[in-house]
């Protein structure tokens, strides 16, 4: 049974792209836009890992991130954030904490800068899921 990766991005092209890449890497892709019911869908589908674009304007990735982290049944699911914003360290120290504005919420499990290096992304996913290469 392949592991399930939930890809949340509001750009259909990126969803298609990452889904194809996930499939090619032996995962079962699930894709979502930034719908209102995103938390319910996650709880229902129970993915093994979430790739979340935090620059989704409609419903900001940050608020989705916060909601996942405080939802009882899904808070433990590893999350990789994708952002076009700043360099990784800068973002972690300043941007992310400021955006989250809540000390109880833990940091994401991984962070990928745009443009996405697909190899780096899946190495990180496989590392987080303990999958043997």
């Amino acid at each position: 049974m392949p592991q399930k990766i939930m890809i949340i991005d509001d750009e259909p092209d990126i969803r298609v792209y990452l889904a194809a890449a996930a499939e090619d890497n032996g995962f079962e892709p699930l894709t979502l836009g930034a719908e209102e019911s995103v938390i319910n869908i996650i709880a229902d589908k129970k993915p093994d890992l979430i790739v979340l674009d935090i620059m989704m304007p409609m419903r900001s990735g940050i608020s989705i991130y916060k909601e996942i982290r405080i939802s009882p049944s899904i808070w433990h699911i590893p999350i990789i954030l994708i952002s076009g914003m700043d360099s990784l360290s800068d973002f972690m120290e300043n941007g992310f904490r400021k955006l989250i504005n809540d000390d109880r919420i833990s940091l994401p499990n991984g962070f990928i800068e745009k443009p996405i290096d697909i190899d780096v992304l899946f190495k990180k996913i496989k590392f987080l899921l303990g999958t043997k290469q």
Binding site: E11, I14, V16, P57, G84, K114
Partner: protein
């Protein structure tokens, strides 16, 4: 030599002369009885028959303590005295009395003949003259040809003490010899009246400035040995004159060194004062002393001088233009004041501030702001490009993956993705170029309300289709102002478009509204676009004015608000917003009137 008079004259003298002489004559015996008197005596002293001389002269009951008549009876010597007695009306009378003893053959004095001349009038006149001399408000002295002071008036004595007999130059100035310019000397030389200015030194450190006039004191034969010198103290006047001069010089130097132009015109609009700065502003040549009112009138805004002369006390043109002599127009601030004394119009003062430099600085500031916006744009462009590269890589990936896995659906999906995103690249580039290039703004006097109505009109159909109430709110009429119609139209179009989208994204589909509100407060024009749509959360708010930030997916390039901000900045204004998620947003454009661009704007080269 004795001559024999004709008989008739001799007779007239004996019979009539006694009564005809205009002096009072009385004959008095040793017992003070008046035994004879003439008509003049009667006229002066009244009835005398059977009366004592002391009763008639002095109104006394007994002989006088000092009696000149008695002395003459004793020594037989004639005397002349000045006496004071009472006339027939009881008035004090001054008279000169000659007492002449009349001796008999034995040399015994039997009678005294007293001859009195009334000098009351003369004495009165003398007193008046003395009063005049002493109290006239100037110092008077009489000097002789040796420059010795022979007489002074009271005023001078009060100032310098008793200086009679002293040399005038010593007494008045402390000099040891005659003054170089001696006014009295001139009068002694030519007999004319002369005037001059002199400084008298008296006491320690005390000087008085005197305006001196000298006149010859001529005798009956027109000769003169004395000169009267009249000196008026002008120290205070000179001091005032001096202070006035200082104040005038002070004002003049302030006016002339002022950095702003100052002009004064009299009631006929002739120029009376023009300072260097004003000359500089108008480019008046240095050698052109006279500047006519017509010349000035042509350089100032049309009809300005006339308006000021007829109008209220102050006129103030915050920003206007004047022409220079070279025909250039330069931006200035113009302040005028109607000058009045006691309700009489006496002229106009003009104050002209050259705004060229300030305008230049404002332009530089706007340019700097524009460059900063371009910088932001470049940073934003990088973000946009990242997303595009992502999508292009995605397309490439699908293409490769499709070919290697022999999946045609991926190949065609990858192709579509590539084509779509190449189009997006070209759209971004076009919009970015349009933004960075900018558009020259064309400033005219526009009615903000009209712009609002036209934008509302533009979106009326679209709003109605989505069940959104779109309205204009203009509580009070707003005075038209200089602005770029196209630019402000675009701003409101962007904001209203966003507001309608915000309503469409909102969960509540009923009672949605978008309002365009135009108002003015404290000389600031306010354009507001208010909606009760979806509102913005923290993250969205942070990114509102960032390039390529869009909440509309592929629907927008994300340049709308940035363009709006740029146009607002070009109008010297600011744009702010408030927003609550789920409650709606309000975008406010504030345009201070004094920062609005002018015609033939200095903004945008």
């Amino acid at each position: 030599m004795m001559t024999t008079l004709p008989n008739d004259i001799d007779k007239w003298i004996r019979d009539n002369l006694f009564d005809a002489v205009p002096m009072a004559i009385a004959v008095i015996d040793r017992k003070y009885n008046i035994i004879h008197a003439n008509k003049s005596f009667e006229q002066m002293f009244g009835l005398w028959q059977n009366r004592k001389c002391y009763a008639v002269y002095k109104n006394r009951d007994a002989a006088c303590a000092i009696c000149k008549g008695s002395e003459a009876f004793k020594d037989g010597v004639a005397r002349t005295n000045e006496e004071v007695g009472y006339n027939k009306n009881g008035r004090l009378t001054r008279y000169i009395q000659h007492s002449i003893p009349v001796k008999d053959d034995n040399g015994e004095v039997r009678f005294i003949v007293e001859i009195a001349t009334d000098i009351t009038e003369i004495e009165l006149m003398r007193k008046e003259h003395q009063l005049l001399l002493d109290q006239v408000p100037c110092n008077i002295l009489v000097i002789n040809r040796d420059f010795r002071i022979v007489r002074t008036n009271l005023r001078l004595r009060q100032l310098l003490g008793d200086i009679d007999g002293e040399l005038c130059f010593k007494a008045l100035k402390g000099y040891d010899e005659k003054c170089a310019e001696c006014t009295a000397h001139q009068t002694f030389s030519d007999g004319d009246i002369h005037s001059g200015s002199h400084v008298w030194a008296h006491g320690e450190d005390h000087v008085s400035h005197m305006l001196v006039t000298t006149v010859p004191l001529r005798k009956a034969d027109n000769s003169f040995d004395l000169v009267m010198e009249m000196a008026v103290d002008v120290t205070k006047t000179l001091k005032l004159e001096d202070e006035l001069k200082v104040a005038h010089t002070f004002l003049e130097s302030i006016i002339d060194t002022a950095l702003d132009g100052i002009l004064a015109l009299d009631d006929q609009s002739n120029i009376t004062i023009i300072n260097s700065a004003a000359r500089r502003i108008f480019h008046f040549p240095e050698n052109q002393i006279q500047i006519t009112k017509d010349t000035l009138s042509e350089l100032l805004p049309h009809g300005f001088l006339g308006q000021v002369a007829a109008g209220s006390k102050y006129s103030f043109l915050q920003e206007t233009e004047v022409k220079t002599m070279d025909g250039d127009m330069i931006p200035v601030r113009l302040i005028s004041t109607r000058l009045k004394t006691e309700d009489r119009f006496i002229g106009i003062a003009l104050y002209i501030q050259d705004l060229t430099e300030i305008k230049g600085l404002e332009k530089e500031k706007l340019e700097a702001e524009r460059l900063a916006a371009v910088g932001q744009t470049v940073a934003g462009l990088a973000h946009g490009v990242k997303n595009l590269i992502n999508a292009l890589e995605g397309g490439m990936y699908l293409l490769k993956s499709g070919i290697s896995n022999n999946r045609m659906d991926r190949v065609s999906g990858g192709m579509d993705m590539l084509i779509r995103n190449i189009e997006r690249v070209s759209m971004f580039v076009k919009e970015f170029l349009a933004f960075s290039k900018g558009r020259e703004i064309h400033v005219k006097i526009e009615d903000p309300a009209l712009i609002a109505h036209e934008v509302v009109e533009l979106y009326a159909g679209q709003a109605a289709n989505h069940g959104i109430e779109l309205r204009c709110e203009i509580p009070d009429p707003v005075t038209p102002a200089p602005m770029d119609y196209e630019g402000m139209h675009e701003c409101l179009t962007n904001l209203v478009g966003n507001a309608i989208d915000a309503c469409n994204m909102s969960e509540k589909k009923e009672n949605c509204f978008v309002a365009v509100r135009i108002s003015e407060k404290d000389d600031i024009l306010i354009f507001e676009v208010i909606d009760n749509g979806i509102g913005m959360d923290y993250e969205v708010k942070q990114k509102v004015f960032t390039n390529f930030f869009t909440t509309k997916g592929l629907g927008g390039a994300g340049l709308g608000l940035l363009t709006t901000k740029k146009i607002v900045q070009e109008h010297g204004g600011t744009i702010t917003f408030t927003s609550e998620p789920g409650e709606g947003s309000t975008f406010s454009i504030h345009l201070p009137r004094k920062r609005l661009p002018q015609h033939n704007s200095f903004i945008n080269t």
